[in-house]
């Protein structure tokens, strides 16, 4: 009986320890939100909703702060990153899971995942010294000759700017999206591949079946990539040009993002309202990533709906 009671005590202890660890995650998130709101309270009181729709950022004279251009900048650079990065990542994921022999695929995955281990400041340096000059001299002039009739690709070319930031971000999200999509494609039961091949499908037709089976997982992978692109700070700050404007004159022009302005101006925030405005930018960024993740869960849950009850091998 005594033994039993001692065992029971162990159970309680385990429950307490695991419960504490589990709830700590939740508590930390709540604390972060609390501190962000507390820190930005001055700015919230002063500007209210105007902070989200304001297009002026003037710490020097009028001391008004509006974050809308930063939201645009963040959305557009992340959008460019997805536009370029997602097709490449899906291609990489498919080659790794469907075409390569297993050992080669393993080695290649290893190298691709190493890309994710490169610190983002290194990406930034590479962006400034290698990628931006290369794009300026060898890519953008041709792009402009081809598409210069649209405002998106007209105007002066500096090397850095919106498109360069998007391209850097695309490179940075490829490892994330491709390694998750590879896992998702590999998890597709072989019986489905065999079923479609036995119907006389070509390799490509079989791959399409694999992709359609894996689509919810792929959406998850893309959203994770989006989360990384939205929050990415250092590399973007180093190449985007950091100019606060509602819209840039073209994709070659400089712009700003939510994350970049915090990193850039934090040390310059010499008075409370300025600092508070920057913290509110942080709050917006946090809510952004939170919303992206919630949206992703909803999409994934919906996508999974008709797939419940299938026999997975």
């Amino acid at each position: 009986m005594k033994d039993f009671r001692e065992k029971l005590r162990g159970d309680y202890l385990l429950l307490l320890l695991t419960g504490a660890s589990a709830s700590s995650v939740f508590i930390i998130i709540c604390l972060i939100i609390y501190k962000l709101i507390e820190g930005s309270w001055l700015s919230i009181q002063r500007f209210g909703i105007g902070f989200f729709i304001g297009t002026e950022w003037d710490p020097a004279i009028s001391q008004t702060f509006g974050a809308l251009p930063l939201v645009f900048g963040t959305l557009v650079t992340s959008g460019i990153a997805l536009l370029i990065g997602v097709p490449i990542s899906l291609g990489v994921g498919l080659v790794l899971s469907e075409y390569m022999p297993r050992q080669l695929s393993f080695a290649t995955s290893f190298v691709i995942e190493l890309l994710a281990a490169i610190p983002s400041v290194i990406y930034g340096l590479w962006g400034i010294f290698t990628l931006a000059p290369f794009l300026r001299d060898n890519v953008y002039p041709y792009l402009q000759a081809l598409l210069g009739f649209t405002p998106l690709f007209s105007g002066p070319i500096y090397g850095g700017g919106v498109l360069t930031a998007g391209i850097i971000l695309a490179i940075m999200i490829v490892p994330t999206i491709s390694s998750i999509s590879r896992d998702v494609f590999s998890a597709v039961p072989n019986s489905l591949r065999e079923a479609v091949i036995s119907l006389g499908a070509t390799r490509w037709e079989a791959v399409k079946i694999v992709m359609s089976y894996a689509r919810s997982g792929v959406i998850g992978a893309v959203v994770l990539g989006l989360g990384r692109a939205v929050g990415e700070t250092m590399a973007v700050t180093m190449v985007i040009g950091n100019r606060f404007q509602v819209f840039p004159s073209s994709l070659f022009d400089a712009w700003y993002t939510l994350a970049a302005i915090i990193a850039n101006e934090f040390t310059e925030a010499t008075y409370d309202l300025y600092l508070s405005a920057l913290i509110e930018v942080g709050l917006v960024l946090f809510l952004f990533t939170l919303m992206i993740n919630i949206l992703a869960r909803i999409i994934i849950l919906r996508a999974l709906g008709p797939m419940r009850g299938i026999a997975r091998e």
Partner: protein
């Protein structure tokens, strides 16, 4: 068809997984419009033999085949033959029901036709109905064709897979232990379906269940350790086996 009394003629067929030989010198002629059962203990190569008949064996990395398989008198392992066109003429049903879970019942049946380039709604509609009727599934699903294929019971899923194979109007149907994951009632339905199919197709069925082979098949092949030990009419093989190994196996003394 076209002067060939046999649907398949297997000649000196060897099959390998890497260096391991799993089939050795198989010679076997398979009749049209009849059920041929392939029996034998686990690991004897019966599934591999089946998969050699529509070139599914080779999609496994490291798998190879030597020898010939004539289908309507044409060697499907000839260099100029595209395996994709062969598989379109030979339907296959697998051990585990494997409908496409992300597709509706309708699309599961129509996919083979769509892969063949059929787009007209009317043609698809009538082919889906015909295939589901042949698979004895039509009455159970006709009011709900847009439901997910994964929502059906195991036996229904397997009949859906049979309908999927039949929709493209193949010339032969290969079945790899189609009832092994099903309960007795579902099994009975599939078995009677197999008998019906034999009126129009060459049906080749792999089974580890000797009673099933005896019930459904016209001809039976007994495979042991990658070799064809005995092949003949089912009745003859079960009632009067010529090889002592066959006798041992069918009387349950090993397996």
């Amino acid at each position: 068809m076209m002067g060939h009394p046999y649907k398949f003629e297997v000649e000196k067929l060897d099959a390998y997984f890497g260096a391991r030989k799993v089939l050795s010198n198989i010679n076997m002629k398979i009749r049209d419009k009849a059920v041929t059962a392939i029996i034998g203990p686990s690991g004897c190569g019966k599934t591999t033999l089946l998969r050699c008949l529509n070139r599914m064996h080779e999609i496994i990395p490291g798998a190879r085949v030597h020898g010939k398989v004539l289908f309507n008198g044409v060697n499907i392992y000839d260099d100029e033959i595209d395996p994709v066109t062969i598989r379109r003429k030979i339907g296959m049903v697998f051990q585990k029901p494997n409908p496409f879970p992300m597709m509706s019942i309708y699309d599961n049946v129509a996919i083979g036709l769509k892969l063949n380039g059929v787009r007209e709604r009317k043609k698809l509609d009538s082919a889906v109905e015909r295939a589901l009727k042949m698979a004895n599934l039509w009455d159970e699903v006709k009011n709900d064709l847009q439901r997910s294929g994964a929502s059906l019971s195991g036996g229904q899923q397997q009949r859906l897979c049979i309908a999927r194979a039949l929709a493209v109007e193949p010339e032969a149907i290969l079945m790899d232990e189609p009832c092994s994951a099903l309960d007795p009632i579902a099994t009975e339905k599939i078995e009677s379906l197999i008998r019906n199919l034999a009126e129009e197709y060459a049906v080749i069925i792999v089974t580890h269940n000797m009673q099933q082979a005896a019930r459904v098949s016209d001809f039976t092949a007994f495979l042991y350790l990658g070799e064809l030990i005995e092949y003949g009419s089912t009745r003859e093989l079960f009632e009067n086996p010529k090889n002592p190994l066959t006798e041992k196996y069918i009387t349950g003394r090993f397996g």
